[in-house]
Symmetry: C2
Subunit: 483 residues, 2 copies
Amino acid sequence: MRRQAVKLFDPLKIGGMTIPNRIMVPAMVTHLCKEDGIVTQDSIDRYVRYAAGGAGLIIVEAMAIHQVKSGPLLRISDDKYIAGLRELTQRVHETSDSKIVPQIIHFLKVARTGWRQTADMLSLEEIDQIVEQFGDAVLRARQAGFDGAELHSAHAYTLSSFLSRANPRTDEYGGQSLEGRLRLIGRVMQNVRRKAGKDFPVGVRFNVEEFIKDGYTVVDSTLIAVRLAELGVDYISLSAGGKFEDAVHTPGQVLYPYNGYSGDRCMPGDWLPRALHAGIAAQVKSHLLSKGHRVPLAVAGKLDAPQDAERLIAEGMADMVGIARGLLADPDWPIKVRNGEQDRIVQCDYCNVCKALDGTHRTVICSLWPQGSIQAPKDDPSAQAPQWPQADTSLSSVSKGARVELKWPKAPGAANYQVYRADEQGDPQMMDAVKVTFWVDNSALGGHTYRYFVRPCSPTGKPGQRSNTETVRIPAPDYMVGA
Amino acid sequence: MRRQAVKLFDPLKIGGMTIPNRIMVPAMVTHLCKEDGIVTQDSIDRYVRYAAGGAGLIIVEAMAIHQVKSGPLLRISDDKYIAGLRELTQRVHETSDSKIVPQIIHFLKVARTGWRQTADMLSLEEIDQIVEQFGDAVLRARQAGFDGAELHSAHAYTLSSFLSRANPRTDEYGGQSLEGRLRLIGRVMQNVRRKAGKDFPVGVRFNVEEFIKDGYTVVDSTLIAVRLAELGVDYISLSAGGKFEDAVHTPGQVLYPYNGYSGDRCMPGDWLPRALHAGIAAQVKSHLLSKGHRVPLAVAGKLDAPQDAERLIAEGMADMVGIARGLLADPDWPIKVRNGEQDRIVQCDYCNVCKALDGTHRTVICSLWPQGSIQAPKDDPSAQAPQWPQADTSLSSVSKGARVELKWPKAPGAANYQVYRADEQGDPQMMDAVKVTFWVDNSALGGHTYRYFVRPCSPTGKPGQRSNTETVRIPAPDYMVGA
C-alpha cells in the first residue's frame, strides 16, 4: 500500500496542536538572556523573527527546571518565570500561526577543572526531585501559553545520560539493561502527564546515535522510539552526538560537549555531508510504523537544502525537518521556499561561527548577518540588489598548484558573496559564503577543470548579478603526467 | 538504463586477474608468525583454509615494507622473505581458484609512553624512501607468486595519515589541501607501477570515513576514490575508522588504534548495526560511475548475513563484499552460501574476542572454534549433529524485571549454542552464540512478549534440534501501568 506523498507545506497534527507545515526550528542556545534566566526583549525578538518567517514549529532554547549555576540560560524552575515566558508566547502567537514549544532541560554539574557530575552520582531522592521538577516545569510551560513542551533527552544532559549505553548506574536506573536506562524518561513522562494534563502536547528529543565509544546506535534507538511511542509522547525529535565523553577539555573552561567527534556529528561543519542523519531517521520511522506507531518524527542535521527537506518529507523518512543553523541564517527560509524564492535564501555555509559563540557563552548570531546585528535583518523584497561597480564583474583567479585563489571587486550593497563551483559534469554548488572579496579553493583535484562564479547578496539574500564564470584547468600532479 | 543484476557468485575481473566470486577476506592480523616476520606453517594453514572455503579474493594480513620494530608481523621488506611467501601462494593456488593478494603496509613509530610519530615528523628523504620501499615490496609480492597487491591506506597507518584531514604537514604533502594529502599515495602508485609492472593488479584500501574529530567524510572520500581510479588502481577497498587520534592509552602499552570510537566503527561490536557502511560505499560507487570510472569497489563492515551480502552486490552498491570476522568464524561461508546451506554457517556474534586478542598481540582465533584450536575446524558434512540428552530440550527462563535469564541442558557434541529471539511481529534473530548453557537478555522491552529458542551447533556449524520455544511476557514497568 503506497501512501499519498506528503509535502513540506502540509499541516501536521501533533496531539492537540496542528502545525501549519513540516518545518521545525530546533532548540538553539541564544545567550540573549542574562544569568537571571528571565526572557528579555532580545529573546522575544529572536523567536518572533522565526514566527514571521513561517516555521511550522518553533522550539525555544533549552530552559532549566532547576537552579544550578550555569551561563546565561533561560529558566522555568519557578513560577516567577511564567510572566516573561507568557509575553514570549503571546508575541509569537500574534505574529503568525507558528506553534511555539519550549525545550525543557535538566543538566548535571560541571566544573572548570574538567570534573563533571555523572548519572551514577545522583541519589534516588535526587532522581525523584528531577521527576517532580520536570512535571512542574511542563505545567508552567502550559500556564505560560506554550503550545506544548519538549523534554531534552539528547546530547550531554541528564535524561540523555541515563538513556546512554555508557550509563554507569548499577541500580534500576541503569544496570546495563535497556529498561534500566529507560526508567528515568519513563517516570518523567508519567509525572509530566499527571501534572500538566494528558491533553498538553509533549515531545521528546533524543539521540538517534550517540557517536561515542561504546555509545548506542540505531539498534537501541529504534527500541527507545518504540518506548516513547508507547508512553504516548506526541512527537519524537531525533538529534545525534553532542556528548561529554569525547569533549576536549580546555584548561580553565567547563567541558563543552560539542567540540569532540560527537560534537562534529551534532553540529556538522562544512566537511560533513548534507542530510547526514536522514537515513538513520528513516530506519527509526520505518521501525515505528512496523510496530503500528504513527507518532510524528522529526530529524535534524544539514537539512537546509530545500530539495533535501522536500524529499525527506515526500519519501516519508520523517514527518518534520529540523533546520537549525539554516533558519538562524535566514528565518524567512519557509516563506521563501513556499513562494519558490529559493534563490533569495541567505544560505548557511556551515562555518560554525554560531557554534564557536555558543561554546564561549557569547550572544549567538549568524556571521552572514550585517555587522553588529544581533537578529536576522527584516526581509525587504523591495530592497536594491547589490551591483558590481560599472558592471565590472571581473572575477579573476590564480592557480598555485591545485590551490585556486579567486578575487573579485566589491559590490556596493552586498552583505556577503556566495562562491559557486562546478566540475566537468556537475551542477554549480555553493562552496562558501564570505564577507571578504577573495576565496581560496583547497579541495580541487589536479587534472580537472572547474568553473567558478560569485554572487553578491543583499543582507536579506537578494542576489545581484552573477560574476563572469572563471574556468580553471588545474594542472595534474607531476606523478600523473605520462602515467 | 538498468543494468542486469549481478550475483554474489558471479566472477569479477580485476585488472589481469579474475576472482571466482564477489566474496573477499579482508586483511586480518593473525599473530601466527614470530618477531622475525617470516611465514610459518600456521600462517599458511590459515590462508589455505580460506581458499578451501571458496572465498573469491583473500587479502593476506598486512606485511611491512620496512624493518621498524613491531609485534609479530609478516614482512616483505627484503628478498629473504620471498621464499616463505612463495610457499604461501603456492599452497593457496593448489587448494582452489581463490586469488591471493598481500596487504602492504608502512607504519610510523609508536612507544609505550603513548608517544607516536606523526606524518609531519617525516623528512622529504624519508618520504622518498617510503615511496621506494612500497615499489620494492610490491615487486617482491609479484615474485612470490601473489595475484596482486593491496596498498594499506586505511586506519592508523602512514598512507592513511597523509590522506587524513588531520594531516598536520604544511608542505606539498599536506598543506590543508586535498591534493597535498593525495601526494604520497599518488607517488607510491607511480613507483609501484614502475617497479612491479603495469600489468600487476594493485588495489588500495582506504577509509570511507575517518570517524574522528575533524576527520574526513564521504565528501572527501568520493574525490579520493576518483583520484585512485585516475591512477589506474585495479580495485578500491573501503574500510572506516581505526585511528590513533581517539585511541585510549593504556599506561605502559603502545596505542591501539581500534579501542576508541573510530575503532568501534572499524570492528563494530554487537551494538552496531549490520551493513553499517553499505550506504556510504554506495555513494562512492555511484559517484565513481557518474565520472565514468568502473573500477571494482569492495566494502566491509558487518556484511556476514548472506542476504545483506547478496543485496549489496545485486543492487550494485559495491562489487565485492569484505567479510572479515564472519569468515574467520567460518571460512566455509562461501561454499555453504553457494550450496544453500546458510543454516550450517558458524555465525559470528560480534563478541570481538578476536579484536581483544589482536589488541594484546596474542594469536587471533575465533571464540566459536573448539577450545584450543588455532584454526577453524575442517568441515565434515557427515559429522553427527549435537543432540539434547533424551530429547530433553527443556529451555527454561526466569524473568527478573525486564531481564530474562535463559538456561538449557548441555547437548553432547555441541561446540556452541545459538540463542534466537523474536518479538511479536518479528522473525527470530540470532542474539548471541555462547559455549555455556545460559544466557541473559538485557535488551528486552517491558510490556512485550518475546519468543526464545536455542540451537546447539557442532564445531563446523551443523545444527542440532532446536530447543522448545520459550514465550516470555515481560512485565511493563510500573510507570506505564495504567498510563
